[in-house]
């Protein structure tokens, strides 16, 4: 009993971890299933069919390609715009700064269904046909605020003495920016870009309002598939995304550890 009390947090923590990871285990497991019929809900038999023929499900690979393209473009545009805005908000004082901060905050506080529908009313009113362009406009809109917030935090945490030190050491303002400020803010920009990519790639609700009838992103494909029967290939994609993310992060940490060990070894020598 005393043991239980002492380790309560650990036990609850591990149970919640299990709760978080369970769906991914199920997704992985069912990517090796060979279902009877169109729905992949019950385990029947082990099979590598879906892994060997990932594009066999009609439209899946096309939608995946479209989602990747949209996510890359949206992330790129919103990272450039968001980083510029983050520097303006993080380093300068000017009239309307508080209002601008609020305007940046609002899209993050707006439910997706509201954002999607209001954009749709605009596009209808202006007579803009739904399609890739409207999807991109929407995705840049809801990712740019996240980029601004992420980069702004990094800019604000920067020690202003560093830039002054650069000026003191004969760097002109633009040299100080590119040699000192930018390299130090870069991790924040990378994090913002990654976040923008992930948000765009994953979005269904806003996209659904602004995609029109014929443009199908990957989340829309999954949604459509869920109504008609779920192809196993969806699970293959889900599994690849999960383990891909783990691998990228793990690889990054490994490199980080290598660098640390390397420099420690040099220190010892």
């Amino acid at each position: 009993m005393a043991w239980l009390r002492r380790n309560l947090v650990v036990i609850v923590g591990l149970l919640v971890m299990a709760y978080i990871l369970m769906p991914n285990l199920v997704v992985t497991m069912f990517s090796f299933n060979k279902p009877n019929g169109r729905y992949n809900y019950e385990w029947t038999q082990f099979s590598l069919d879906a892994w060997l023929n990932p594009c066999a499900s009609a439209g899946l690979c096309e939608s995946l390609g479209l989602s990747l393209w949209v996510a890359v473009v949206a992330a790129l545009v919103s990272t450039v715009m968001g980083t510029m805005a983050a520097f303006a908000l993080g380093r300068y004082r000017f009239r309307g700064r508080a209002a601008t901060n609020l305007l940046v905050f609002f899209p993050m506080a707006t439910p997706e269904v509201v954002m999607g529908s209001s954009l749709l009313t605009l596009f209808i009113a202006m007579g803009i046909p739904s399609g890739q362009v409207t999807i991109l406009i929407a995705h840049i809109l809801f990712t740019v605020s996240f980029v601004v917030t992420t980069v702004k935090a990094r800019v604000a945490s920067l020690d202003p003495a560093l830039e002054q030190a650069a000026a003191d050491l004969y760097a002109t303002p633009s040299q100080a920016f590119w040699k000192v400020t930018f390299p130090l803010v870069a991790p924040g920009i990378a994090a913002g870009a990654l976040l923008a990519f992930a948000l765009s790639f994953d979005d269904y609700i806003v996209t659904n309002f602004n995609a029109g009838a014929t443009t199908v992103t990957f989340p829309m494909f999954v949604w459509g598939a869920a109504q008609r029967g779920t192809p196993v290939q969806i699970n293959v994609v889900g599994t690849v995304m999960f383990f891909g993310a783990l691998a990228i992060v793990g690889f990054g940490q490994l490199i980080g550890a290598r660098l640390r060990i390397g420099s420690r070894r040099k220190e010892a020598l």
């Binding site: 990871l21 009313t121 995304m241």
Partner: protein, 306 residues
Amino acid sequence: MAALTQAAVGAEAPVSRPRRRGGLVPLVLLAPALLWLVVFFVVPTISLASQSLQTGDIDNGFTLTWNFAVYAEAMARYWPQFLRSMVYAASATLGTLVLGYPLAWFIAHRSGRWKNVLLVLVVAPFFTNFLIRTLAWQIILTDNGPVTGFFRATGLTAVLQAMGLTDNDSLLGSQFAVICGLVYNFLPFMVLPLYTILERLDVRLLDAAGDLYANGWQTFWRVIWPLSLPGVVSGTLLTFIPAAGDYINSRLLGNTQTVMIGQVIDAQFLRVLDYPIAAALSFILMAAIIVLVAGYVRAAGTEELV
């Protein structure tokens, strides 16, 4: 007064945050993002308000008639779904807090390597499309699955039924499943801000509280909880706002009795094509969230969210 304090501080200690006047530079830097936000966020919001006050239909077009009655009509027809959305979102927020707090604490107090592994494991699922993961919940909660079997065997199903969270002895297609899905979906948005705060918490404070005669529970309520409030506030906002507008979970895990307001807006806009009602509902949802959030932030006394 504030200017004076800043000047006094700036006079000696190097200013912690340079607030320089840059003339046109900040405006040039802001221009693209600001333009985008105004054209595609502010204007659409006005367009939404305007749409809600128009009358007409999709074939003959809409005209602005300042028909405020549409708001009363929208609420009269859809208040149950509206209220349900708020209740589900609030329950889900409470659920993420109750589950997320111990997890955040657990992660924050592991040693360096484990901390990183656990954080990655919390975030990594979210690189898998959330529709796929929500569909996985259909499999997990399926009628002849082990989870449903466990709930039935331990009498938990009966408890849920008594609480009105399920209609029969299945788990799928119930309020329980919808809230479960919402909690699952937004858990990381609660865990990450909490983790950030709890990781920075000085553990010596716990020793100090113990030294001053506080037991574990008192230490939590009087020291840890108040210090973690900023994390709690941002976590609850990050959960509540998207949960209130979500309809994926209620569509995939619920039944016709669990319809949320987002589902109604989606249907009115994209299938019924009754734009004024749909726009009015969107507007009400946004206004309700702004009012709730503003009141909550004021009550919590933290305004440093922006």
